[in-house]
Symmetry: none
Subunit: 202 residues, 4 copies
Amino acid sequence: MRSAPGGRPRDEKLHRAILQTTYDLVLQVGFRAVSVESIAATAGVSKATIYRRWPNKAAVVMDAFTDRVGSGSLFPKAQSATESIRLQMRAMARSFRGDDGALVRALLAEAQFDPELARAFRERWTMPRRKLGIAVVEEAIRQGEMSADIDPADVIDILYGPIYYRLQMGTGALSNAYVDRIFRRAMKGLGGKDRASRDCPP
Amino acid sequence: MRSAPGGRPRDEKLHRAILQTTYDLVLQVGFRAVSVESIAATAGVSKATIYRRWPNKAAVVMDAFTDRVGSGSLFPKAQSATESIRLQMRAMARSFRGDDGALVRALLAEAQFDPELARAFRERWTMPRRKLGIAVVEEAIRQGEMSADIDPADVIDILYGPIYYRLQMGTGALSNAYVDRIFRRAMKGLGGKDRASRDCPP
Amino acid sequence: MRSAPGGRPRDEKLHRAILQTTYDLVLQVGFRAVSVESIAATAGVSKATIYRRWPNKAAVVMDAFTDRVGSGSLFPKAQSATESIRLQMRAMARSFRGDDGALVRALLAEAQFDPELARAFRERWTMPRRKLGIAVVEEAIRQGEMSADIDPADVIDILYGPIYYRLQMGTGALSNAYVDRIFRRAMKGLGGKDRASRDCPP
Amino acid sequence: MRSAPGGRPRDEKLHRAILQTTYDLVLQVGFRAVSVESIAATAGVSKATIYRRWPNKAAVVMDAFTDRVGSGSLFPKAQSATESIRLQMRAMARSFRGDDGALVRALLAEAQFDPELARAFRERWTMPRRKLGIAVVEEAIRQGEMSADIDPADVIDILYGPIYYRLQMGTGALSNAYVDRIFRRAMKGLGGKDRASRDCPP
DNA sequence: ACCTAAGCGAGACGGTACGTCTGGTCTTGGC
DNA sequence: GCCAAGACCAGACGTACCGTCTCGCTTAGGT
């Protein structure tokens, strides 16, 4: 078994510089207006260096983004699991109101045209968050805060679907009030007075 | 006010031919791969003719799409208002599984980069459906099928958010089963024990 | 029978501007250092406009060159046909000492790597001159100034071959004295005193 | 004389391997299509190793070429000095019809853009051959086969100029017949009537 | 029956970015 | 200290679309 055959290693400083530049550029002028050429020029790097490391602009931006946001401790401690979820929803909405919102919108949009990016977005943004969320939901179920007969993944969809929906549709602000309303309503259910008789078709 | 001094009127056949060609092309090769040039060439029309009528590709595709789907009779008759909503959710999921899904994904994605398209998408796709949906929700409330203290718009977000979420995230299939699960769970609420006894007695 | 189907005609001013710019650039910085990009930038023209009209840099330079030199009245009037040839050889040598020399060297060199350019060079530079030269040689033969049993094409090769040779090899200056020497010697023949007996192998 | 101060000596095997690879590659795909990278890759050598030994591609090819052809025994023995020249012209034409022709064309062409290569080509190809040729011409003059009042260098130009001319212009094949015609005509001179009676009596 | 404004096809144009390629230099770690 | 490997900067390549424009031709209305 012979050792690796040599060759100059990639320059990690460059990596960081490119991602930083990319992040800044995207926020300044928007995803569409950023080009690989502008990233290269701004970062003082040749285009080839970028294409050696990423297949296209979207991949660079994806990296620049996930480098930033990480996948860290997302669910704040709270009195209960459900309360932790509510706070996390608020935190996500808040971040969507800022720079992250623009990036998530752009990346999620671009992913609709680029299967590889879609995969990356799912693996590096969506799924880590879903997994954390599902764990908290399971805890909530264990604590009896949520029904036992529930699929945790559905809970995530019901609670977070509306947030992404507003982010993209622009039907209204992603305010804390909105988040709280959605949360409360989803917890209580939409059904009316005598709902028991109706919402359980045989 | 002077009268129009003559001039040749727009050719309506062309309009239809262009939209038809556009629709077909987008389905064949995808939104990204379609260019105004390819539409013009395929439709046997000059680029100028297209740019005389639409500001850019997205607008043409938007027209081609809404021309097709209309905003017609969306909520099927059913035993109850809530049941009508459920059936409509199923219908939307079904259409999202087909060609419409690809188009809605592409248009919604593109709209993230194009405020004008975003406006058009909202006005011609999102809002008509929301309005119909809200009306049905209001009817449901009147009938006591849904709580009186609810914002109908939130109901729409909670029920449809998850559908768009899956459409774009690709976290799972938009099956009827999924739709039913989301619907039932949203109606019942996510909350646990203390309400479980009322929800679905064995 | 309908007329040509329209379309915007090429802008002739642009054509001239591009060729002029190209010519100037090549003389300033040399063939190799000129790029299509620099031509476009200097001429205030987009790259696409150049590529719409020529397949590559060499073709532009070829055009720029032949546009300049034309294929005009090359053989000056003189007392005799042979004298006309000598004067033309001097004229060519003189032009090779100037800008044309650099261009002919570059184009002939580039043509060694580009069959299409080679064809163009032959058709637009070499052959027109050869044809004129051959006609004058034929006149010389008619006038008894040159042997009757001679292939005029060989005469051109013998007289002009050395000029191109010096142009490219750099073995010496293309002076009038050199041209005259080559001309006189070629006319008289290389053979010595008793050459008749030797240079006609049976 | 100081001893070598340590350090690893250059690997001569590598040198030969690189030149061999280069030669083969150039013949296979042509001078233009060969890059230093392709030579390095094919020879299993790093680019740096090549750039450590030669300044650029042309220099490598130049070496690969002269390594092959040498400057060896060029003028065959013959009955007379002039006949030796004729046979050498044939030999050169034959070699130009083969692989060497392609290489000489490419190198001479490239030399038009690269003064250093031009110098090398002159010193290692052109001048050795010219010197040998001039010596033979001087011998021919001593033997009375050529005029005494002649510059041997001009003889070389007149006889070999046409061969290079055809090699590059592509105005016709470099056949033995062509060579013989040029040789005979140059020996006899192009001039007409008054000398015709002396030249080749029937 | 004109007349005239506009529609139309064709396609040239200035721009801009793409992703690829090569040239020549430099760096790392093994031998 | 040479080597293979290969990262790096620089910058041209030729292509593809964009959205605008100009050119002549055609075609309906208004008079």
